[in-house]
Amino acid sequence: MIEFNRFVLENGLRVLVHEDPSTPLAVVNIMYDVGSKDEDPAQTGFAHLFEHLMFGGSVHIPDYDEPLQRAGGENNAYTTNDLTNYYCSLPAENIETAFWLESDRMLSLAFSEKSLEVQRKVVCEEFKEHYINKPYGDVWQKMRDLAYKVHPYQWMTIGKELSHVENAKISDVKNFFFKHYLPPNAVLVVAGKVKTAEVKQLAEKWFAGIPSGKKYIRSLPQEPQQKEARLLEIKADVPLDAFIKTWHMEARLHHGYYVADLIAEILGGGGSSRLYQALVKEKQLFSSLDCYHFGTIDAGLLAVEGKLVKGVKMEDVEKAVNEEIEKIKTSMVSEQELEKVKNKTESVIAFEDMSVMSRANSLALYELLGDPNLINTELEKYQSVTREDIKECSNKIFDPNNSNTIYYYSKN
């Protein structure tokens, strides 16, 4: 049981406190409810570029990192399609430094031209390092294009193309900040060797004066039900053919999400999973194979991807994948197999909860989703999944008309 206290400041900032006296550290985690799905299609990659700019100085503090390091702290941040998260940990005695830094950049950035100019370049290098200068680096942009026709999950967090990042202007940065980086759009979690009363006093002192601004109301186009199978063939300079297939699944808070999570585990979770055993070990069609889902808040994708053993034909691979899919659609999983994937889930959660940083991050996410107590109740949602649920949900997800397939051929 992970305990926490919750209060809301008048400006709408939600604050959660998780006391853990066993650590000498304090973690300050701020999650903003803005991700790449909130971007203009002509300016993709902006939420992530913006994350970089949050370190380029705020209205009263020229440099974020230096004072934090001086206080013995470390920090990082990440952007996903759904959200942007900033977190730091430091000796608990110095927690006020984190409040000072985080509140100042929520109040306003310095909007430095130099920072924008440098971070545009840094992000372009990040783009190149992960998505251009790497075999198969473009595959997920291609898959997103194929699977999403209207929902903004159709682009990656890094952006659709380099030019979107290269063309970012300081006026865009300002607009983005004052639209999204507002107290009602953020969740502050403070965890570790802290007391709620102290956090309350510090939160009032540093955050209460930040104006609420105009609350951003998200209204994204939802992806309509896919009606026919989509296929894309690519030829590229890669050493091996690859097979990638995705299916639409349910959104984060739906029962079907938990079922799909277990389905992905049954099919592709580790050395005793069905696809690995049948297709890598027994039939030796794939040299590597994974099955997982994107874990997004809006309706996401469940994916199977693998590299083909040389000489194996794409049709044979697809047929073999379909056979395994057919099995999970038509015959009931055994009690034992279902128990196995539930046990794995229990264990994953226990290991995640070991670190106070990870607990703070989870609390922020669950608050963003609307119920911070999910940190304690989510395991029950997995436990309640039945064999019938697995079969029913498999039939829903693995409808051929709900699928997107890429044949990624080696040119060589």
């Binding site: 000796p91 430094t97 040299s287 889930t345 229990e346």
Partner: protein, 427 residues
């Protein structure tokens, strides 16, 4: 009242902290296998790591050590690979194996309540693995294909080559694998290596987490009667054979848009009296986000997403390494700036504010590194495998707190000389 945002809140200097390394308990199994244990943590989870002297230091033929280690999970007399995987998966446990240079490990992570159901299978793996031809064939095929993909990546190629330049290809630290090495692997070689270095090998055990009261008994039942640690391990010596040429530029992908840059100079190891000072100097140079390399090359020039320097984590001998992936057209400029930063560290003392910041950052970061049972045991493991003890921990802290700008400048003059660095760009 509005807070004064222009003024830094008062901070407690991290160097004032009295950092303690939680001691580890030590006991010995019936067969003499030493166990190091840290009982801590709130979650009901634990890890058991068996460390064998079975790294590539001890192999006579390339990739035998890593393959033996990998195939430990691929079948025993009584269980095939699937059954082994299913057993650990069923309990939500993870059994990982890793091959390093001197050592190779088998690591179990599990909910504490399942430990007794899992240990017997770990024992079985150590005594009854069979290394079937079929499993070896699949492994060879898949590893060769994986290697082909990796060889397309400039960072992967650069990591292999820089080690070869520093240590020589015949040295376990400088050696790497080709597809031919996989083809030449023989099952009998794996079985022989397994018998000598695992079944009858030299082992030590590290456990951490929320430990059951009878942990000693459980470990003794599982491993205490195995024929381990009976014979002294054959000790092998290798001399490094550094390359003569210092500068290399390689085109791996003519269309590449980035270059992987590696720069390295030999540095002895953790026992060297300069090591603790070098760690502080390294932090200033390229060891964290606020370092000079990062501030100059990423945060001022935008040449890269990240640049780092570090001392390699080897037992016998090491290298001081600088590593980055930079835009193809700015690779030369990146190298030039890196040398400039070395020059500044040799020619000018670090100013007090920067040195204070780095001291505080390093102590704060150490505080975080000691948070949790797995972190604590990892530190103990590193000390024990390197032949060190807690004195080393307290000495390092003392150096972080007291090293002077003059000493750091002297250290820079000794080690940060561009002429002594290997320099490699792989596009």
């Amino acid at each position: 009242m509005a807070p004064n945002r222009k003024e830094t809140p008062k901070i407690f200097d991290a160097v004032e902290f009295n950092l303690q390394l939680k001691p580890c308990q030590r006991f010995t199994l019936d067969n003499g296998v030493p166990v190091y244990a840290v009982d801590a943590g709130a979650e009901d989870v634990l890890m058991v790591e068996l460390v064998f002297k079975a790294g590539n230091w001890y192999e006579d033929k390339n990739i035998v050590a890593a393959t033996t280690n990998f195939m430990l999970k691929n079948g025993t007399k009584h269980k095939n690979a699937f059954s082994i995987n299913e057993h650990f998966d069923f309990y939500g446990a993870y059994l990982n194996r890793t091959c390093y240079h001197e050592t190779a490990a088998i690591t179990l992570h599990t909910l504490s309540k399942h430990l007794s159901a899992l240990l017997p299978v770990v024992t079985e793996i150590l005594t009854e693995s069979v290394f079937l031809e079929d499993e070896l064939a699949i492994y060879k095929q898949n590893q060769k294909q994986r290697l082909e993909v990796s060889l397309k990546k400039c960072d992967f190629v650069a990591n292999r080559l820089i080690d070869e330049y520093v240590y020589g290809f015949h040295h376990p630290y400088g050696r790497y694998t080709s597809t031919l090495d996989y083809d030449q692997l023989e099952r009998e070689e794996l079985i022989a290596f397994y018998k000598q270095y695992y079944t009858q090998g030299n082992c030590m055990v590290f456990v951490a987490g929320k430990l059951p009261a009878n942990i000693q008994e459980q470990l003794n039942n599982a491993f205490g009667s195995l024929p381990l640690n009976h014979t002294a391990q054959r000790e092998v010596q290798y001399n490094t054979q550094p390359a003569d040429d210092k500068k290399y530029h390689i085109v791996n992908d003519p269309n590449g848009v980035q270059g992987a840059i590696r720069m390295a100079t030999p540095f002895p190891n953790r026992h060297h009296p300069d090591f603790a000072k070098v760690q502080v100097l390294n932090n200033i140079f390229g060891g964290f986000f606020g370092s000079r390399l990062m501030s100059n090359i990423r945060e001022d020039k935008g040449y890269t997403y990240g640049i780092h320097s570090y001392i390699q984590n080897h037992v016998h001998t090491c290298a001081w390494m600088i590593s980055t992936e930079a835009g193809r057209e700015v690779c030369d400029a990146t190298i030039e700036e890196t040398y400039k930063e070395m020059d500044i560290l040799r020619n000018e003392p670090v100013d007090a504010a920067e040195l204070d910041l780095v001291r505080n950052y390093m102590i704060g970061s150490l505080l975080g590194d000691l948070d949790g049972p797995f972190q604590i045991i990892a530190r103990w493991k590193s000390y024990i495998l390197n032949g060190l003890d807690e004195k080393y921990f307290y000495n390092s802290i003392n150096t972080i707190k007291t090293v002077t700008a003059e000493e750091l400048q002297e250290t820079a003059k000794k080690y940060l000389n561009p002429a002594e660095f290997y320099e490699l760009v792989v596009v």
